[in-house]
Symmetry: C2
Subunit: 592 residues, 2 copies
Amino acid sequence: MTQYAVPLEDYRFVFDALGLGELTEFDGWDMAQQDVVQQIVQEAGRYGADILFPLNRQADEIGAKFENGVVTVPPGFQEAYAQFREGGWPALTGPVEYGGQGLPFYLQYILTEIMAATCMSFAQYTGLTHGAAMAIEAHASEELKALYLPKLISGEWSGTMCLTESHSGTDLGLIKTRAVPAKDGSYAITGGKIFISAGEHEMVDNIVHLVLAKLPDAPPGVRGISLFLVPKYLPDENGAPGARNGVSAGSIEHKMGMKGAVACVMNFEDATGWLVGEPHRGLHAMFTMMNVERLLLSAQGQGAAELAYQSSLAYARDRVQGRALSGAKYPTLAADPIIVHPDVRRMLLTMKAHAEGGRALALWVMKHVDIAERHPDPAEREKASDLVALMTPVVKVWLSDNGSEAANLGVQTFGGHGYIREWGMEQIVRDIRILQLYEGANGIQALDLVARKLPMKGGSLLLRLTDPIDAHIETYASSADHAEFIQPLVAIRAKLEQATALLRAKAESDPEELGAGSMDYLKIVGYAAQTFIWSKLAIEASERRGENAAFYSSKLATARFYIGKLLPFADAHLVGLEAGAEPLMALDAEYF
Amino acid sequence: MTQYAVPLEDYRFVFDALGLGELTEFDGWDMAQQDVVQQIVQEAGRYGADILFPLNRQADEIGAKFENGVVTVPPGFQEAYAQFREGGWPALTGPVEYGGQGLPFYLQYILTEIMAATCMSFAQYTGLTHGAAMAIEAHASEELKALYLPKLISGEWSGTMCLTESHSGTDLGLIKTRAVPAKDGSYAITGGKIFISAGEHEMVDNIVHLVLAKLPDAPPGVRGISLFLVPKYLPDENGAPGARNGVSAGSIEHKMGMKGAVACVMNFEDATGWLVGEPHRGLHAMFTMMNVERLLLSAQGQGAAELAYQSSLAYARDRVQGRALSGAKYPTLAADPIIVHPDVRRMLLTMKAHAEGGRALALWVMKHVDIAERHPDPAEREKASDLVALMTPVVKVWLSDNGSEAANLGVQTFGGHGYIREWGMEQIVRDIRILQLYEGANGIQALDLVARKLPMKGGSLLLRLTDPIDAHIETYASSADHAEFIQPLVAIRAKLEQATALLRAKAESDPEELGAGSMDYLKIVGYAAQTFIWSKLAIEASERRGENAAFYSSKLATARFYIGKLLPFADAHLVGLEAGAEPLMALDAEYF
């Protein structure tokens, strides 16, 4: 069976190792000290483990139902949502002026990780609201903000992101949904959207859809898309939900997993909406939300890795089968627990490396979201913002791919039982598989990295990653004690340099080279960043080993495993990058 | 939606490239010429595409049901089974003296590939019968053979393999099922088995269970296991199904996929059985069947890769989204078909390489099953048998891992639609996931390779793989034309040598090194064998290019893609092997 307890100690360690305490020096965040954060994590862990986790299997077995336009959520979700609101979780990092607690963004990551690990399909109903609020805060009029933000931040209302149409997913320039201006300054929205997460449900009093549509005078393509706020119920003069708006769910999809969540077909028929941001600049405004979702999505992949690891570890200690190759380790038992077998340990350590390494890497990026918001020095804010822009596609792919790998290794650790639904391990694989697809499929992320982020600002974004790596290398260059964690970083740092030069040179002669190398290049950036983070964690752990031998020797062993057994795969991506576009593009499309 | 047409042309090509025609020189196989084989493949393809494929989605949605000990198979299975029998498919490769058609074993592989690609859960009901018959033929008394083989070979009855118990999967020494001798030479079998594929259903008149159990005087562990034949209905004096035996299904599992198939809990209560082979040598006898199943399982992984590829290719040609980076390729369409995008091609070519490369590699191994059976020279038979022993765990892992990767890339190619059940792509992922788990989880296969196969006969089994590789290299060493397909083979051949020496040296000082390096080593063997096969295919294709430009340039492009983009991963496994057991074994079990 699956097992989960909040990894409190790891959060404490990462807080120190990444210097999250530095954020307390910024305006309004003096309360975000280690002990306060620990308390929040503990509470979130209690909510996840005690309230959400018991709902997870049933959410999969029963699923969400749809009848006559109404969604019925799985048993317990309604009550869990009430507790979510009562606990103040929707407000955790929302702006204080609209009722939020105003805590740093990285806490949103932690909350998302815990909720995804304990019931990913429940988390889908709450997950988009924060991003919708951020987009409204950044781009909407004061009037819309005053009306909608307090409700979203209190969790009374929830949010959605309506982009995809059946013929238009990655290529949003193809959308057909129209917006016609009305005399009162509102717009009449008509069109059909698909795959709308939490598009319809009755756990909240109102649902706020952020919808991409085209104005009558829209130029063709992505430069003709505008963003609209379309509520399920039109607020009355007191701001309370009034008349039903012309938006409704037509059906829900039958999915591989995430069965407790809904992906809705949403029909807009002359629905009343309000423009958010400038006309034809809707994609820009929507990307405020999209980027938040991509960042938080990485928490879902990493949370699943944590769940797979904890569950597999418990099973590997309990299940006895076979004897260690070097002789029985538990001679009084009928057989040794399978944790004695090296190949089982390979699987466990891979999951552990993905869960813990992924957490620290992502939190390092999230810290920069916070620096970008509040650092007093505008130059530092800009640098941090550039790092986040560079790393958003990387952590989205890195943690969703690694999460899927971890979930599959979890199934594998359970052997045949992994394939049986009641054990819960195969559900993790099914639930998490969506992460590589939504909010921009992983191939699109790779293209975003090489074709948008890499050339931006004269190619300087990459320095935001390599500068801290170089500084870290310099700090420990002369320390023989830490050489085992610095040398591999020096090596992968050089390969990143080489890969970047190679990709840039190739792309000059043929733009297809960018696409051909995109995924290999993204993985090399991922390995470089992950090695940097493991190096930081390992050095911190080795300096603290006296405090808690079990925890720190475990951390060091995981770092060594990562370097010895996972990092070598980076080289294959460099060789693949060198091979270039030719092996992909030589074949005529009709000869496939 | 999923798409399938039998890859007739590829079978024709592989027949020539691998010299399958050589088998016609052996006793009784003169009919197995290219044109006859093509006819059989075409017929099997028609059966798969027309009869099985339309059942596949419904089999998943409705699934097999269980009530009061009775299994109801999904709609259409009963009729499809009747057509399976009428078509003579159960008899395809069965021995002529018991009513079989006596064709070479490799045709069983092809039939399995086609059936797995078109309806994997149906194939589960027919798939074990052939292996059960082979075990009975090899080990049972003449009386049992005469009674059971004709019924199994005609498909009137089906077979099962009853090994696993809830506490005993990999470690069969722990089984508790007992066999008590009766006065008439039979045995009373009592115990509980789990995960029994096709353990109960009513598409056949009788089910023949091959059951592992312990005799009263059994020594402990795996040397105390015997094999028994236990029919569902005891044959009467005419050999027809008579009284119900003391064996019944207690329940069926709820699984991740393969929902049309059943994995039964089987209860044996004083069931009458007959010993197959010698007392306490049951594992040896069962392994005749197990090895056949492991070989045929590779066809399931490879068939799934074929289905994922064909379906994804059709989608990638049809779905328009975005423009090529080098400018619009189909300017009259709203957008370019996604097959123009390099990263989509990376996914397509990976699936194609797994489907076609896997097919040829597996058929090369299957050819040696046939050589081992019928070559007139006993030395050649032994050599071929040794190659099969060496490669059985390799193809089991290689094709099941690659099949899962291909299925996941299929989902990825479909984007969000890949996650939706009605499109059929996610079903492939769920169905195929069992392959890495059953008939010995993949980690166990790796251990079988390094701990059993590699040291066997003074370590000479590996020569059965490397000798043909070396001969191939020598043949083409001086051909500049083929250098691109010989040089990478020379390189991976050297790495295999290095890996073997390394593993042997390490294992001398610490037996845990064997387990620690097992999966990395297996993958290196897989890459070496696969590169050898691609080299053969590519050279054959380049020499025939004039005949059919589309087919052969596609084959060459796939070979180049494999060498440029997939083969580089072999190096990471070599580096992982060098890192040894330390990164896996250093951490105390309680510190995880």
